[in-house]
Each structure stands twice: as C-alpha cells, then as structure tokens.
Assembly symmetry: C2
Homo-oligomer: 537 residues x 2
C-alpha cells in the first residue's frame, strides 16, 4: 500500500479518537509527508532527506487542538514536485478506484486516503495544483486558500513564494470547517479590512473561451457543470485564457524553478546516491545555474500577465475551470513523465502565481472517471469561491464560511428593505455581506412606516414607561470597511446604532431619526414582511 509513508498504530488512533474533544472531535486527519507532525518523521518522499520534527507544523497543531486525530503521513510526489502521484521512491499512488490510473499529485496519498475513507480530512500542499488535481481525480473536495493566510511554518518548501497548505475532505461542509480551524490557528498574511464574505446572489462566473488539453469526453461534463451554475442564477461570461496559460508555462519552464533549487537543491547535490525520482532530480538540479536576472525578468513577466488576467476578470466574481484536463494511466505518465505532468497543470499552474484562491469540487462522473471543476477567485475572496463551488457541487453554502473564522468582520441587523429578500438588499450583498440568520429584538421597540421610496420601516425604542414589541430582524456579517461604506451611503432618516435583542445582547442594527418616525404604526405585525403581507404597508 503506497498511500502512507508512516501510519500510526490503529489502536493508538482509536484511543485518541475516543477521547478527542473540540469542533473536530472524532475527525481522522491524514498529513502529507512534507508537513511536520511531532514524533513522526518528515520525509518529503525522500528517505535520505527524512528528519524527526520536534513540533507540529502550525497548520497541524491547529487541527489537532480542535480535536482532529492524526492517522499518519501520506505519500507524495517527491519534494511536492509533480501533479501525477507517481514520482516517489515509496511507490506510485494509484487511483482509489482504478489501480492502473494515477491518483494525481503531488498530494497523492492525502487525496486517496480521503477518497477511500481511511481519513476524514487530509492536509495537502499546493504550488502548481497539488491540492486540487488529486481532489479532482479522486472525486473529493480540495480547498486551496489564498497564499499566506495559513502559515507554512513546518512545511518543507517546494517553491516557497507560491506554496500553500490545503485541505481535502469528501464534502464541502467538512472541508470548510477544517479550513476555518486551520486558518484561525495557523494565521499568516493579514486579511484586508474590506474582504468580501460571500458571493453575490447572482455571481458573474467566467469560463475559458477555449478549453485546451481537455479530454474530449469531459467536455460535456464541464458544460453540464456550467449549466448548473447558470441554472442556479450565475451569469456566465467567457474570458481569454491565453495570459493564464502563459503564466502556467512559466512555473516550470522558466526561472521560477530556481526556488525549488533554493529549497532542496543543496541536499540533492550533496546526496548523489539518495533515492531520488529521476524526473524530480532533473528538474531541480537543472535549476542550479539559472542566473538571478532571469528570475527577475520572469517574475516581472508573471506580474505583467497577472495584470492582464486580472483586468480580464474585472467585474467577474469567479473563474471556473476543469480541475484536471484528463485522467491518465500510470504507464502513460511513465512514458512521458514531463509532458503528461505539464498538461495536467493546464488549469492549475497559474493560480498561485496570480495570487488566486480556489475550491476544487466533484462535478459528476464520465464513465468510470471522476470529473471535477475548480472555482477560482481573487486573493482573499475565498468565501466567494466556496459559495460558487457549492452551486456546482450541490452542497449547501456553509453559513459559517471559513474566512469568518479569521478575517475581521462586524455585524448589522436589518428590519426592512435590507432583509434577505428586500428591495435594497443588493446594497449589502454588493459589499460582500453574508446572511447569518434571523433574530428577534427585545420587546422594547415599535415599528412605523416611513414615507420613503421604497417604503422602509422606522424601528425606534419605546420610552421606558411604554410597552413595546419584539421585531424580526436579519443578521448580516460584513467587513468593517463594508459597514463603514454602507453607513456613509445611508440616507436620512435611517440611523445605525445598538438595538437590544431578546437574548439580552445589544447589536448594531437599524434605527431611525425619531423626528421622522411619525408614520402609521405597524408594530403589531412583528415584522416588516408580515406587515407587507397584511397590506399594512
């Protein structure tokens, strides 16, 4: 069995599962073997490279602290260099369903462990697509967060500027929960104060104008996934994929690969007899003599392409692509290890270079093969990617989308035109606000109708001597900047301040200039929609 490089004894795992506590209690975790787990060797799939870490990588520590229990360390394309899952002296990791086929990599063992049910979640890493390609081929979910939001402390670098820690799980809900725990506990790059926390109700989704390298039989599956998005309310637009492909080529074919030499090149040079995958050795060693000025030029070219690509995505919420273009057999990879690997990265390689985040989700099967798509979004728009991915996978979009666990957010409770189905709700959703449920005020308020267009309710507190009612509100979570911008644009007589709720909390909510609250009293209906339904507005 080539999925695991190190596996903890079953009894040990079972005992820990028994006693595990926290939000991830009972969740079995597999860890890619380029990520440190205290007490287990880290090999990066090179036995001679192995070392014994004294502490968990930050990402591992966060998941463990939340109750996840480590099953073992998983096989990978050596030094996380590859997208195939065959480049390991511990053996090629076969597809979980069809053993003649590749698993995809480099996080091969992690993805297969989840696909076979040997683990509930798994940590992967992703530079060129290693957290997405194997998810696609194994029919599971892979979340690749924005670069740097999860610390890479305790991770063997592959191409350090572009390395990410990722999560695999069988469904989006669990993957999302695990990402939240991992991101909150292993935090890195600061989230912007105006981050969007949700996709808009009708997102604009771009797809490539052409689909190079895509398996002919997979085209219909991709079209079906796009159709599902469209049916769910997304507006589909096409985008020129050329700048994305051009950047993808730079990741391995240019000077960026010198980062791989910086990571493990000296080790490779110093260990000519180590069990190195010949392709991995060739890729890394050949980067030794690339001059620095070429790296400068290639980085400049990446930036130029990124500018072009991001301009093409202006006004677009997410880019949807096939996760992998095909599912090759192991012997096909053996016959052309570099060529096949390169084609496998067609829809993934550019992502980290362009500072995008992504969510890979299953999108049906084609014959015996799993088909998957990846939803890509701009840096920090991880919540947007999760929401759009849920439209494809058929999962419920999680209320507690994972960036909420770590990005700074504030809340606003609304009573009228900004309710989820209200006439002005776009003012909130355009700012990336996320709906977070209903709640009811303390019985200390009254509601009257303002003579505005559209009509709005005035919610005002009754004097202590008077009797008020409880009113229904909707809770939104939004970035601090979104709340500031919303307030700055809010017209008189609306005001925002603290309102008392029936759970005893005071929350930021809509109020109103008292002098304007002279319209018909509709308090008795208990909510704005009820008053409308009754014809009182």
């Amino acid at each position: 069995m080539t999925v695991w490089i190190t596996r903890r004894p079953d009894a040990e795992v079972a005992a820990e599962l028994e006693g595990s506590q926290g939000p991830l209690a009972g969740v079995r975790l597999a860890v890619k073997d380029n990520v440190d787990v205290a007490g287990l060797p880290t090999t990066a799939a090179c036995p001679e490279f192995a070392y014994q870490p004294s502490q968990d990588a930050a990402a591992v520590a966060a998941l463990r602290a939340a109750g996840a229990v480590i099953v073992g360390k998983t096989n990978l394309d050596q030094f996380a260099t590859g997208l195939v899952g065959t480049r390991s002296p511990y053996g090629a990791v076969p597809d979980s369903r069809r053993p003649d086929y590749i698993s995809g990599g480099s996080s091969s063992g992690s993805a297969v462990a989840v696909a076979t049910g040997e683990a509930d979640i798994a940590i992967g890493t992703d530079t060129a697509g290693s957290g997405r390609v194997p998810a696609g081929l194994q029919g599971i979910v892979g979340i690749k967060p924005t670069l740097g939001v999860v610390s890479t402390d305790g991770v063997v670098p592959a191409c350090e500027s572009y390395d990410c820690v990722t999560i695999f799980a069988a469904d989006l809900g669990l993957a999302n929960r695990a990402m939240g725990v991992m991101a909150a506990g292993a935090s890195g790059r600061q989230w912007p104060a105006d981050v969007r926390l949700a996709a808009p109700p009708s997102p604009v989704v771009a797809i490539p104008y052409e689909l190079p390298e895509l398996d002919r039989d997979w085209r219909a599956a991709f079209d079906a996934a796009v159709g599902k998005l469209s049916d769910a309310g997304a507006r589909i637009v096409t985008v020129d994929f050329a700048p994305f492909l051009a950047a993808a080529k730079l990741l391995y074919d240019g000077a960026l690969v010198s980062e791989r030499y910086a990571a493990v090149g000296e080790f490779i040079d110093a260990h000519p007899d180590a069990a190195l995958d010949p392709t991995v050795r060739r890729i890394i060693s050949s980067a030794r003599d690339i001059p620095a000025h070429r790296l400068v030029q290639d980085r400049r070219e990446v930036e130029r392409l990124r500018t072009v690509a991001m301009a093409a995505l202006d006004g677009v919420d997410a880019l949807v692509v096939p996760t992998a273009p095909m599912h090759p057999r192991i012997d096909e990879v053996a016959a052309d290890p570099v060529g096949v690997n390169s084609r496998m990265g067609t829809y993934t390689n550019f992502c980290n270079l362009f500072d995008m985040c992504g969510v890979a989700v299953p999108a049906g099967t084609v014959g015996p093969a799993q088909f998957g798509i990846t939803v890509l979004a701009r840096a920090f728009e991880d919540a947007v990617a999760v929401d759009v991915a849920a439209l494809v996978s058929g999962d419920e979009a999680p209320v507690d989308v994972w960036p909420l666990a770590v990005a700074d957010s504030v809340e606003l409770v609304v009573f009228g035109a900004h309710l989820r189905a209200g006439a002005l709700v776009h003012q909130l959703t355009d700012l990336g606000a996320r709906w977070a449920g209903e709640l009811t005020t303390a019985p200390r308020y009254r509601m009257s109708v303002l003579p505005t267009v559209p009509a709005k309710p005035a919610v005002t507190r009754v004097p202590d001597s008077d009797k008020g009612v409880s009113l229904l509100g909707h809770r939104w979570l939004l970035s601090p900047a979104a709340l500031g911008r919303f307030l700055a644009a809010l017209p008189a007589p609306m005001q925002l301040g603290k309102v008392e709720f029936d759970d005893g909390t005071w929350r930021t909510a809509f109020g109103c200039d008292g002098a304007a609250a002279t319209g018909p009293d509709i308090s008795s209906y208990g909510s704005w929609p009820a008053a409308i339904a009754a014809g009182a507005v």
Copy 2:
C-alpha cells in the same frame, strides 16, 4: 553647470508658467533624468542609453495636468545607482552651498535644483535612499511614498521591486501638495481600507538604540530633533537597529543587485564603449552571474529581517533616523567610491526592502552643514510620517495630508465627547481619523444631555413644525474600516446617520435614539463646549 542634463529654454518655461492653471499653477518642476518627459530625451545619465519618450511618465503627466511646468531634466548617479551624486558622465553635482562637497544622490540634480530655487518641486526616484539622502544634505524636504502607490510607468528601472517615485520641495506643505497630485494621477497599488490617515496626538516614536556611522558633530543635532519631538508630545522609545542594518547590507552586497543587471545589464554588456561610470559598471556587471537560487535565499532573508524589524516596531507609530550619517567631500568619495556610498545608506537602504515609507525633513544646521532627519513609517502610513515630520520641521501638519487625495476615506461629524479636545476623542484617533475642521448644522436640531458617563449630548432633529438651532460640529476623515469599527463599538443610545448642515449638505454624523433624548435641553448654547463652559452640563 552639472545640475541639468536637459534644460528647456527660459522663454518657453516662462510662457508656460504664465498660462498655467490648476492646483499647481506657477509651480516649476524639475524631473530626474531617469523619468520620461515627452519631447525631452531620457538619459539615466548615460548618453548612449538615451531615448526620446513619446509620452510623459504617469507621475510627470499628473503634475503637468495640475499646472506644474517642467524646467528640465536633472543629473543623477548613473542608472540611479548611488547615493553620492558624483557618478555621472555629465559631471558630479556639487552641494548647493559648498562646492567641494557632494550633493547626495542619486537624485542629485533634482535636490540641488530645489535647494538653489531653480525649481519649486522636483521628481526624484528612491531605491536605496535617493529621494532622501540628497534632501537631507541639501536642507530640503523629500517625500518617499509607500512602494507602488505611485506608478513607475515611464521610469527607467534601477532595482525594480524596490523603486519609488519621490518629490522634493523646500517645505513640507508644497511637497505634500505635489505628492497628493502625483499619487492621485499616477495611481498604482491599492490603499488598504483601514489605512490610518493621521498620527495620533501623542505618537510613539522609535529611535535607534545606537547610531552607527553618524558624524560625531551631528549627534547633538539628532538629539535636538528628538527633543523637539518629545516636547511636541511624542513618546520616545529605542529600538534595536541590527535587523535594519542587516537588511541595508543586502541591498548592494547580496543577490538583490541582480535586479540592476536585469534592468540595464544587457545594455551595458552590449556597449563596452559607452560613457559608463566605472563604479556603476562594476556593480551592475558583477551581478550578471549571480545564481537565481541565491536571489531566492536573499529575498527570504529580507523577509525574515522584515518580520523581526516590524515586530520590534510593534506599537510604534514612526521610526526617526538621521537622513544621512555625514556629508562627505567630493574627493573623499573619489578616494573610496563604494565605501563612502555604502555608509551614506546606513539609515536609508533598508526602507524600501521593508516596505516602509518616509519623509526627510531639515532639522537644523551643524556649522555650515545641513542636518536632516527622516521619519519612517509602515507601508501606507504615509500620513503618519508626514504628521511626525511636521513636528520636527516646525511646519504645520497639513490638513489635506496627501494620502487623502487617493486613499478611500469617509467622514464623520461629531458634536460632543469626540470633538477634538473631547474625552472620547481617542476612540477616533486610535483608528487613524484625521481632524478636518469645524462646521455647523442647519437650524433644524436640538441638543440635550444624556445621563451617560462621560456625559454626552443627544443631537436630534426637531419635527418640521418646531424651531431648531444650528449646532457646532467637528469633521473627521477616516478609513471606511475605521468608521465600521467605530460604529460596531458604539454603545446605545448613540446612533450614526445623516445630519443636515448649513451649507445644505447631509453628512454622516452623530444622532441619538429618540427615546433617550429626554435630558436637559442645552440647544441654546449652540455647542457642547459652550454648554460645558456655561456650567449647563
């Protein structure tokens, strides 16, 4: 005369000045000759490199559009490589006051043109300190903004990742105005939604624990500048300067110099007979064979040092250093061109590597020499740097600090405890809010006293049938996120919404839950301070 490489005919300049219009009408502008001006050659101080740009650099275009008139293109250390002002085939640019001394560089001609009054403002560039060192030696102001906020389109790259366009002027007010125009018109990197727009009233200012290389006679001048800050209310703390110095060394002594080869190395190799400064040629040519993996390692080391340095500045608003450590003679530089140049960058080289911004201001004289200090702040805290610099230079801190011209800001009008001298004003200044003047409401309001601690006014609009008064308010400008956070923390019964002002505008301002506005009416005093002064609160 070595200040100018190209100078426009006086009559042409005079005619344009006569007809100039806009916020910079009548302002004479000198442009460093590595920045494009349509119709004038760009030489970068290398005649063989010269080309004829067909359009202005973005920064130049912005200043011209605002009415500034170009006097000419100024001499520089060739390819902006140096801090001395002597590395040019067009001749060394001497100090404006003592011709045996260096001007400082690389923006030598630009700084001297302003110091002698031949120009009112000048564009410089800054990678290692070229927009600060010559300002210090010439007794003028140099503003080096955060990396990337002014586009470098149309600028000959020196070390592209760290190149900045800068402004010189004789005083902080004009430099600030010109920066605002340039940044707004040549925008680049996005400003964060939670940017601080002012230094707090009592800023925490760090100074290096030791002052390496500082001219012995300048020590007292530095201490005097720090004393002035302290007298102005700053709290002075010391910081370990070691990580800053270590990064400074990496800029020239490590692999980062390969960026200079990427910029002009091929030109230099292809033109062995070009009029190249021998030191510049040596620096750039020797970078040709640096391997890329060393650049990767050095960048990683810069990041590591930056993390250490920023941690050391935690809780600190600004770092104040001498701009240059000494003022050498031209013959001293000739005797040791690399050594002296390197020492000149002691207090500047690290800045751009650490993504800091800076303002260099005069801080008195020591004998015949000008002494200057530089106020450094974190990326995007350019307004903080300007405010602290004003405390040293004795300039009034500009109300319209330049980031307001380009960063997204919103306003909030306050009436009570958040007035400039109010008990709760720290709630705004801690969020980086900037005071922006007084204004008066329309005569449609009343003010009463709330039974809060501290006491606060309730400002409420009177019903249309009633007679109200005009009330005095203070206007604050703050980031959208700051307003959102302020609202999220605001306790009942305060509310924020639109209030009508006597100029007919409606602005976001303090209101109050009407049910709470039952305290004593103090409207007749016209303002909260007047009511307090009268003993009515």
